[in-house]
């Protein structure tokens, strides 16, 4: 057992070296080069972000639109039980979907990287092809698949397993399936580079020492990929938190996430200040979760390094 764990720790020791390369000794040309993306980010991301923050304080005009002002009405409405409940539900379902997606995508990607190129390439192309489907198409396709009129239950009826077709949408599981489906390819593509770089000698060593493939997977591959697993998990979480069509189409109202309400407020109720306030809140919450997870991850990583060094 201890023998198998050693390679994981050895590899982690080498990690910080990579991070420190762009440190204090960076050249002027390098800094200027970095300024371009920083500027682009500031103009195209922080600019609209600031505008949205400002809009969230605008005064709403009943039966009309809104006017510039500094009022807290949109923010206080966000504090109502209904929206707090929606926020908690959104976090719960997205964390759950992120966990399930990573659970499926990780072993899938691992096997994918170990395949011969002949099989690996077509599979990768299939995964990439799934990315071309928009959320709208995915949502309506699952609506048909899970629906009563032309869905899978019709096959069950044809096979004699059911007496009449049933509808599995809208519902909680329909939303989970839809969200996991759109997130899966992104998750695989996030994990793929890291998993394909894992040295075969490490797994071979583990197996030579008598570990079963399953034990090698859990005791060598998973610890080696911890950082990437966390990254993939966070990516899916943030990605699904922003999805609003899947929830709309495949969920009942109690399964609508905050993103659905942002879209409804902005599009159907022309209440842009309130939509902006919900969006700001959602961004803050997701940033906080990403921040805390990353901080915990790095603290744990440093602790482990210290332990190994001692």
């Amino acid at each position: 057992m201890t023998v198998v764990e050693t390679p994981a720790d050895t590899v982690e020791l080498t990690e910080p070296v990579i991070h420190d390369e762009d440190g204090p000794g960076m050249s002027w040309s390098g800094r200027i080069m970095l300024m371009v993306p920083t500027l682009v980010l500031a103009v195209f991301f922080l600019g609209p972000f600031a505008l949205m923050l400002r809009t969230s304080f605008y005064r709403r005009i009943q039966g009309g639109f809104y006017e510039p002002a500094f009022v807290l009405e949109s923010w206080s409405r966000l504090g109502s039980d209904f929206y707090i409940d929606r926020a908690l539900f959104s976090l719960r379902i997205c964390l759950f979907v992120a966990a399930v997606t990573v659970m499926f995508a990780f072993p899938f990607t691992w096997f994918l990287t170990r395949m011969k190129a002949r099989y690996q390439v077509p599979l990768l192309i299939m995964i990439l092809a799934a990315l071309t489907l928009s959320e709208v198409i995915v949502a309506f396709a699952w609506d048909l698949i899970l629906g009563r009129a032309s869905g899978i239950s019709n096959i069950m009826v044809w096979l004699g397993l059911m007496s009449e077709p049933q509808s599995y949408t809208p519902g909680y599981w329909a939303v989970c399936i839809g969200l996991a489906y759109i997130a899966f390819p992104y998750c695989v593509l996030t994990l793929y580079p890291a998993l394909s770089r894992i040295d075969r000698e490490l797994t071979e060593a583990s197996e030579t020492l008598g570990a079963s493939p399953l034990r090698t997977f859990f005791n060598v591959v998973v610890p080696l990929s911890r950082t990437n697993l966390v990254a993939a998990f966070l990516m899916v979480f943030v990605f699904t938190l922003g999805s609003y069509i899947i929830g709309q189409v495949l969920g009942r109202p109690e399964h609508w996430t905050l993103s659905v309400f942002i879209s409804d407020q902005a599009t159907y109720n022309s209440n842009v200040p309130f939509a902006a306030a919900i969006a700001m809140f959602l961004t803050a919450v997701s940033l906080a979760i990403v921040g805390v997870t990353t901080w915990l991850g790095s603290r744990q990583g440093r602790a482990r390094q210290k332990a190994v060094a001692v």
């Binding site: 709403r60 005009i61 009943q62 039966g63 009309g64 639109f65 409405r77 109502s80 039980d81 209904f82 409940d85 539900f89 629906g147 009563r148 009129a149 032309s150 509808s167 809208p170 709309q248 189409v249 009942r252 109202p253 109690e254 609508w256 309400f261 409804d264 902005a266 599009t267 159907y268 109720n269 022309s270 209440n271 842009v272 309130f274």
Partner: protein, 403 residues
């Protein structure tokens, strides 16, 4: 059921689009207009472009009827609700172009307020996504309050006089901002394969036999479920919606039916698909496009419930930032002709907004599009949606959408 009759409108209504009397009247008005310095420029456009109210009042003299002859080759963009609705309007545009020389680019507009926000953003940026748009009643009030619409004088439109009472809408400055385009009824719609015999009362929406089998619109202000429920279950009817307590009571009743709802639709296309395929058995929908869909073979029927169908309407309105105010006025004027509205009634199945005394529809045709007529219909209490908009939205979310 009786399938909706579709005729080639050009055969059904021969030669009425080129009524010489109408043309000559317009010529006279045009000459009058040409003598004026405004050259048929609508009064309010001056105001909208930064002129003071004095100019607007001066321009409001009844001399500025739009001239079709001067506008040959002009192109306007017209937005109507996408789907069957737009398709039917599109089929009429060539006749409009042939007669006026104005070309029309048809734009598919999303319903339920979504188009409004696009127009609002565009006007803020100084552009116009469409010169003329069709707006529902709640939306046109919002657009007017938000200052998105061009106002003009009623005399700018020769055919506005045909409109039935209430279909020429004005703003606070007494300028016209909307003219009736079409009325429509929201009725009880069902899939004939799933529902052999249609119920005749809105009360059926509360019947547990439709568990997870119903479709309703998800917005309080476009579904008019408050009005339907008030008129179905409460003796006070629409007056229930005058107070917050009354509205809450009505909402509590609506909350009782939510287990039946499989689809809370936002856009018509999604609902249409689910009704056609039988994914949902029954629900609320638009009488006009249901009749149209049935006429092309979809297994659908529309029933005017005994408590009354909801009567709502759409108005043509001109975006304030349009660069084609004159052509836009000609467009609205042309579509206000009783003959054109009759044609829409027989093709699209919308109910005309022009006074019934100007129509030559047969009683059978009229019943086909209007059922027992406007007197028997539920007329939405728009004031509630206007004055208590966000409060209703919040309560609606809490009562109907909370888990």
């Amino acid at each position: 059921m009786t399938h909706f009759r579709r005729t080639d409108p050009r055969l059904a209504l021969p030669g009425r689009f080129n009524a010489p009397a109408d043309q000559s009247r317009r010529d006279v008005l045009r000459r009058l207009g040409l003598t004026g310095a405004a050259l048929a420029l609508p009064s309010s456009l001056l105001a909208a472009c930064g002129g003071g109210s004095d100019e607007a009042e001066a321009g409001a003299e009844p001399v500025a009827a739009p001239s079709a002859a001067d506008l040959t080759g002009t192109k306007i963009k017209v937005a109507t609700f996408g789907g069957f609705f737009e398709e039917n309007y599109k089929a009429i545009y060539p006749d409009f172009t042939a007669e006026t020389g104005i070309e029309v680019e048809s734009i598919s507009e999303p319903g339920g307020g979504a188009w409004l926000i696009q127009v609002q953003q565009a006007v803020a940026a100084g552009t116009a996504p469409a010169d003329v748009s069709m707006f529902g009643n709640v939306d046109i009030l919002k657009a007017s309050t938000g200052g998105l619409l061009m106002g003009y004088s009623a005399s700018d439109l020769a055919n506005a006089t045909y409109q039935a009472e209430g279909f020429v809408r004005t703003n606070d400055a007494d300028e016209v901002i909307g003219v009736g385009a079409a009325s429509w009824y929201i009725t009880l719609v069902s899939n004939t394969d799933r529902v052999p015999e249609s119920p005749t009362s809105w009360k059926t929406l509360w019947d547990s036999q439709w568990l997870n089998d119903m479709a309703l619109n998800n917005q309080a202000q476009t579904s008019f479920l408050l009005d339907i429920t008030a008129n179905t279950w409460f003796d006070e009817g629409t007056t229930m919606l005058e107070t917050e307590e009354g509205i809450l009571e009505v909402m509590a009743k609506i909350a009782e039916l939510k287990d039946n709802v499989k689809l809370w639709w936002r856009d018509e296309a999604t609902a249409q698909q689910d009704y056609n395929s039988g994914e949902v058995a029954i629900g609320q929908f638009y009488h006009d496009i249901t009749q149209y869909a049935a006429s092309i073979g979809e297994p659908l029927r529309s029933v005017f419930p005994e408590e009354g169908a909801v009567l709502d309407s759409g108005s043509w309105a001109i975006t304030k930032t349009t660069e084609q105010p004159e052509a836009s006025l000609v467009f609205i004027d042309w579509f206000s002709q009783p003959t054109v509205q009759e044609r829409l009634a027989t093709t699209l199945g919308t109910s005309p907004t022009v006074g019934v005394e100007h129509l030559e529809l047969t009683a059978e045709d009229y019943e086909m599009v209007s059922g027992p007529g406007p007197d028997a219909a539920i007329k939405p209490y728009y004031t509630a949606y206007q004055e208590r908009e966000d409060w209703i939205n919040q309560q609606w979310s809490e009562q109907i959408f909370a888990g």
